[in-house]
Subunit: 286 residues, 2 copies
């Protein structure tokens, strides 16, 4: 009886748009999206979150577009089955290739990391010369380049794929001479082109931020799409009255499609927080 009252109140409050305690769903091909989750946890500290790392099929970066769309669909289906109120595609590759596809297939708000990063880059650049770094697939997809030019027609955007950055971060070598030399090799062309803004277009790259800063110098604005995405998400939830206004300690759940222990071990460095409530799922069958 008491429970029914609680449920009724919850329902009324929710219908009033004052409270929606359903979790936010976030997925990525692996651990990288945890940098996005971290920003969401900081900016939306009362939201319950479900994170899915599709570690069985990482990296998406070297897969075909058709395959990436299929994977993004399966990840979204899993999150939907957990009754999430919104989906964040916290993977640049999947955002660049599968966002429209997922938005079309699921009847809930879906946001990716490309648009927030691109919009911010277009708004803060002074010279219009913008660099984008990311995986081979993200850069080849031209997603950031195209999106930035939608916001700033005469922008000059240079994309550089940096495939070594991910394993450098996963080795914990972000402050090593290997990281610095690699960054110099990759970023040299951007420095020559005198970009004034640089988008860190891969979820692993914020961890290399200091090394990248050292190489590009103090005057280049570094854009972290994870931060901008969390800002957009907060705006979306606020405007559509979907914030959770239950100020209890939120619940965080983590799912990995393979080798969850690896997610726990490496993920801690991304999340700056211990990973508990971690479960393994079979993603192929979804």
């Amino acid at each position: 009886m008491f429970y029914s009252y609680i449920k009724l109140i919850e329902f009324l409050v929710k219908e009033d748009g004052l409270m929606d305690n359903r979790p936010i769903g976030i997925f990525d091909s692996g651990v990288g999206g945890l940098t996005v989750m971290r920003e969401v946890m900081e900016q939306l500290p009362y939201e319950n979150i479900i994170y899915l790392g599709d570690t069985a099929r990482i990296p998406y970066g070297s897969k075909s577009e058709q395959t990436i769309r299929k994977y993004a669909n399966q990840c979204s289906s899993f999150l939907k089955s957990k009754d999430v109120k919104t989906i964040v595609i916290a993977c640049n590759t999947a955002s660049s290739i599968a966002l429209n596809h997922v938005q079309k297939n699921f009847d809930l708000p879906v946001i990716g990391v490309i648009d927030p990063g691109a919009r911010t880059a277009a708004s803060v650049t002074e010279t219009g010369r913008i660099g984008v770094i990311g995986t081979i697939a993200t850069i080849n997809s031209n997603a950031y380049q195209t999106k930035i030019m939608e916001y700033l027609h005469d922008a000059e955007v240079i994309g550089i794929p940096c495939p070594l950055f991910v394993p450098i971060v996963e080795e914990g070598w972000e402050y090593s001479n290997v990281a610095e030399l690699t960054a110099e090799k990759y970023l040299d062309e951007l420095i020559e082109h005198d970009v004034d803004t640089l988008v860190l277009g891969c979820t692993h790259y914020p961890i290399l931020r200091n090394t990248i800063r050292k190489v590009v110098g103090p005057n280049v604005k570094l854009i972290n799409p994870a931060y901008e995405t969390a800002r957009d998400l907060k705006k979306l939830l606020t405007e559509s009255e979907m914030l959770n206004e239950n100020y209890d300690k939120p619940r965080y759940e983590y799912y990995a499609s393979d080798a969850p222990e690896r997610l726990r071990r490496i993920g801690g460095n991304f999340l700056k927080k211990e990973i508990n409530n971690l479960y393994e799922i079979a993603i192929d069958n979804l």
Copy 2:
């Protein structure tokens, strides 16, 4: 009628053990196994070969053992469907984890790359101090370490995972200062332990051979399991009278479970040969 005679002769010759023109099947999680195929092409220049790169699910290195066994089974089923006479698991991760499993499930000779590399290392070392480098999964599986000690009980084997080597090779940076610094970082411990033999326990590493040689010095024996595996394969086919003694130009076919163009582009550097007869297949359904 003429065709029937040919078939009859082929049958008789084959039954006599003088000729078996069925192809050799080789699979790997991606392009790396092409260094094994290259050795097989050199040492067995009349054999037809079918290569399968499971590029849709690369890398195996970060997957669980159960998943790797499933994938190896699916790759072997595909090759079996192409009527291969033998299967080479040209992937250290899959060899270390799934060889017995595949041998049990398929009624044809199956060889991996671990045993040939381990046996050679055990036989050429003088001090008994042997280093093994490979992916995280290969090293953590202890497959080389265990196998070397089967051949040489009192060997002292040190395994070092080198996850940056694969992307360095795939970037074409094998002669760069990044490659050298990375090799120094990884191999330092082996040099300190004064190993006299080093197993290149990942199919990508032979391409870094010169850089590794520079770092470890001229006195360390470098073992390339791809070369040793091709030698074992030649011995196996000779002894079981399964060599193809039709000395026509052999046929090479390549299959990729995703993004075949990437296999063609990067694979050329591994094979030192242009890749034609390349097809895409759906591996999940096997």
